[in-house]
């Protein structure tokens, strides 16, 4: 099977981006010309192409090195958090759809309550109780996005549950688990992946605000979102210190989403041929 043909043009582009960033995440720190916290220049917000390839940041540190060090936090943490939210949201969403109404109702209302708890309080309480750790960061972001994911998953699953082929399977006497696993899940996987892909983007940005609160990645390390945030002062002069991490975020997240989109390539093709 020709992988590139299956993925199509944008899928191939997405896949190459994803592979590239995975490579950076794995080997970035080894490739970095400077330690992440080292001051390499007296001037701040230096432009591209001087002694430091991507210029310097707000303290005079090497931007390239900081991006190479920071990518792994963004990629790993955001991916883990988005997948956690996706897994919880989809499994609970399907469960709600195939369960008796009272289970569905109580679970849905529980999720409504969960999403209504202000995220900042939740995060602050967690930091106060457990201190700052990367695992905690993943859990907090994951839990924060679960109710949204659940809501979308449930609405898809409820629709599917009424479809003829599911009703047929039910009439055959199949159990709930089988219905969920074999009939409903495969038919909602694409929209859900779209949703999870988007949550990956948000997670990247949420991570930076949580880091800013003091949860998660600790200085001198910084994830990509935090790199953008801490260098905002250089925006007016168009400093690469703020633009490059922003471009990196865009490339990571677009790559992931292009791959997700192309996985449903056959669907698009049918529709495109209409």
């Amino acid at each position: 099977m020709n992988l590139f043909r299956t993925l199509g043009y944008s899928g191939t582009l997405g896949l190459s981006l994803v592979l590239f960033w995975l490579f950076i995440a794995l080997f970035g720190p080894a490739l970095a010309p400077h330690p992440v916290g080292e001051i390499v220049a007296w001037d701040v917000f230096e432009p591209i192409g001087g002694a430091n390839l991507l210029g310097t940041d707000y303290l005079g540190r090497d931007v390239l090195s900081r991006i190479l060090h920071g990518t792994r936090f963004t990629v790993v943490l955001a991916a883990a958090a988005a997948m956690l939210a996706g897994f919880m949201g989809v499994s609970l969403g399907i469960l709600a759809a195939v369960s008796p109404r009272w289970v569905d109702e109580s679970m849905s209302r529980f999720m409504d309550a969960l999403i209504s708890i202000p995220g900042k309080i939740f995060a602050l309480v967690m930091i106060a109780a457990f201190g700052s750790s990367l695992l905690l960061l993943i859990v907090i972001v994951g839990v924060a996005y679960t109710p949204g994911c659940y809501r979308i998953a449930r609405s898809l699953a409820v629709n599917l549950n009424q479809m003829d082929f599911v009703q047929v399977a039910r009439a055959r006497g199949e159990g709930r688990i089988y219905l969920a696993w074999a009939e409903i899940l495969p038919n909602m996987i694409h929209p859900m992946m779209t949703d999870v892909g988007l949550r990956f983007v948000w997670a990247v940005l949420l991570l930076s605000s949580l880091s800013f609160l003091g949860l998660g990645v600790q200085p001198p390390d910084a994830d990509l979102g935090s790199l953008v945030r801490e260098n905002m002062g250089g925006l007016a002069e168009g400093a690469p210190a703020v633009l490059m991490p922003a471009v990196a975020i865009a490339l990571v997240t677009i790559g992931v989403n292009l791959v997700i989109d192309s996985l449903r390539g056959n669907v698009s093709n049918t529709a495109g041929s209409v």
């Binding site: 303290l59 003091g214 001198p220 002062g233 007016a236």
Partner: protein, 524 residues
């Protein structure tokens, strides 16, 4: 001694020129800050009229009109607009007469204040000694929740001798007492005020609108006790907490004066041609605190090692972009009249740090350092200290924690934390608040008998030369023995529209020590 009678016209010409003296030049950044002869050239005549909008740093529903409760720079600014004090600061933080026409004391313990005649509150009520008694004594009532309760504890009694004369009796002599009364918390309110929503004072502006967390609008007080002042018709005070947004608002012309400009924005403000910046060098500092009663700060050699690890030059250049001044591990800034110039500034010395570290025997760590964005520059200073420490094999871990609740939960609570101390009107106040054994905020938890005695002696000393010698000894003791490092002093940087006249520096805070309102005019 301190019987001063000065001009009633606010800042006199001489004082304005003094103010210029404290305006530093930003030589490192090209462009330079305001030059003495640009704004003050020939001291242009103030112009009456005009409306400006001013952006402070932060504002929330906790904004207050009660001077005793002022917590943030925006509060102080608001209070100086509406209220007047018995005294006010000059550009060197000496007390000028204000609502008190003159003040004197024989023994620095019993102070007599002679009040100005014919001053009216905004509601038309006359200002008398009873207002002073009420305004000062309420700080001693715990129910007031005064920020200055600890300072006011030294007041034993306040008595109206005549309607125009007040006697303040202190628990011990304090030569700096009149300066303390110039802080915004001690501004004068009408006798018996419980409800502050009207904002009745005898300050330069009257309150027109106040919405906590949103804005304050004031209009000129036509019967202000300084003839001819203030100049502006109306001022709107808002707060923009994001620095970029604040500077953008200045450059787009939506506001005419902003507080707390990041040194990195100075270049851009100059380039705009529309606005200028004013650096006020001050004794504001962010310090590293090692608790004396907890490991490893309890180890004298460890504390010394940390002091040698700080690279003060790099912090000044990288974190503060050349603004501010280098500190010498004691709280007196180099531009203070009490500064111990003969005490050599501690160098960044890895060898000595390594030697002390070895001698301390505390091991390689890791030791967490707690820092938060609310303590200006602390996170970056921690990261730089960590890099230095690595070079001598010491593992210091940066632990950035939320600004939210930092003062109540982290500051002074862990073995190594960062503090952030605003300028105090007098050195005595700073030392007795943070350095003596029984200080309410004895950051390191240390005690030094010699220092305690010196501070008390200096407080009651009327002779400036003797006083300075005592303070030099105090600096040496803190520099050597106190387990805390003050690597740098931080400047206040204001940004203002070039059409705004009359800006100067009063190094208690930004925006002319928060009291720009009565001093500036609009040339637009």
């Amino acid at each position: 001694m301190t019987d001063k009678t000065k001009s009633n016209q606010g800042l006199s010409r001489r004082e304005l020129l003094q103010a210029i003296g404290t305006v530093g030049a930003f030589t490192g950044l090209g462009g330079g800050l305001i030059q003495p002869n640009s704004v003050f050239a020939g001291l242009p005549t103030p112009r009456r009229g005009g409306r400006i909008r001013v952006a402070g740093l932060s504002s929330s529903t906790a904004d207050t009109l009660d001077p005793a409760k002022g917590a943030l720079s925006t509060d102080y600014t608001r209070h100086y607009m509406i209220y007047s004090g018995l005294t006010q600061f000059d550009s060197a933080l000496n007390p000028l007469p204000a609502l008190a026409e003159s003040f004197s004391s024989e023994d620095q313990q019993v102070w007599i204040f002679n009040l100005r005649n014919g001053v009216q509150f905004h509601d038309g009520k006359s200002f008398t000694a009873d207002d002073v008694v009420y305004s000062l004594m309420r700080h001693k009532d715990p129910a007031t929740a005064s920020k200055m309760a600890a300072v006011a504890a030294q007041i034993e009694s306040v008595r109206a001798l005549t309607p125009n004369q007040v006697e303040v009796r202190l628990q011990g002599p304090n030569a700096d007492f009149p300066i303390i009364l110039a802080t915004s918390h001690f501004l004068i309110i009408p006798d018996g005020t419980e409800d502050f929503s009207k904002g009745t004072g005898c300050g330069p502006y009257k309150l027109k609108e106040f919405i906590p967390g949103v804005r304050t609008i004031v209009v000129r007080n036509e019967t202000y006790w300084k003839p001819g002042q203030p100049y502006l018709d109306e001022i709107e005070l808002i707060a923009i907490s994001d620095e970029m947004a604040r500077v953008n608002a200045l450059l787009s012309g939506d506001v005419q004066l902003v507080i707390a400009v990041d040194p990195r924005s100075v270049r851009r403000i100059h380039a705009s041609g529309r606005a200028d910046v004013l650096e006020t060098t001050s004794s504001l500092y962010t310090n590293l605190i090692m608790r004396q009663d907890q490991f490893p700060g309890s180890n004298h050699d460890f504390a010394l090692a940390i002091k040698y690890l700080f690279d003060r030059e790099t912090i000044k250049r990288s974190v503060f972009r050349g603004s501010g001044m280098i500190g010498n591990d004691h709280p007196v800034a180099p531009n203070s009249k009490y500064y111990a110039a003969d005490l050599p500034v501690r160098a960044h010395d890895l060898e000595r740090a390594a030697w002390h570290l070895k001698r301390s025997g505390v091991g390689k760590g890791p030791f967490p350092m707690f820092a938060a964005p609310i303590a200006t520059g602390s996170v970056d200073m921690a990261a730089l200290l960590q890099m230095s420490a690595q070079k001598v094999g010491l593992n210091l871990r940066v632990n950035r924690v939320p600004s939210d609740g930092y003062w109540s939960n982290h500051w002074m609570k862990h073995p190594i934390t960062f503090g952030n101390i605003n300028p105090r009107p007098s050195l005595d106040l700073l030392l007795s608040s943070f350095f003596v054994s029984n200080a309410p905020w004895n950051e390191t938890g240390w005690s030094n008998e010699k220092l305690d005695q010196l501070v008390v002696a200096a407080r009651g000393e009327g002779n400036e030369d003797k006083r300075k010698q005592m303070y030099v000894d105090v600096q040496t003791i803190i520099h050597e023995h106190c387990p805390l490092s003050i690597p740098n002093f931080i400047s206040f940087i204001d940004g203002f529209d070039k059409r705004l006249g009359g800006m100067g520096a009063i190094p208690i805070g930004g925006l002319m020590g928060y009291s720009f309102a009565e001093n500036v005019w609009w040339n637009g």
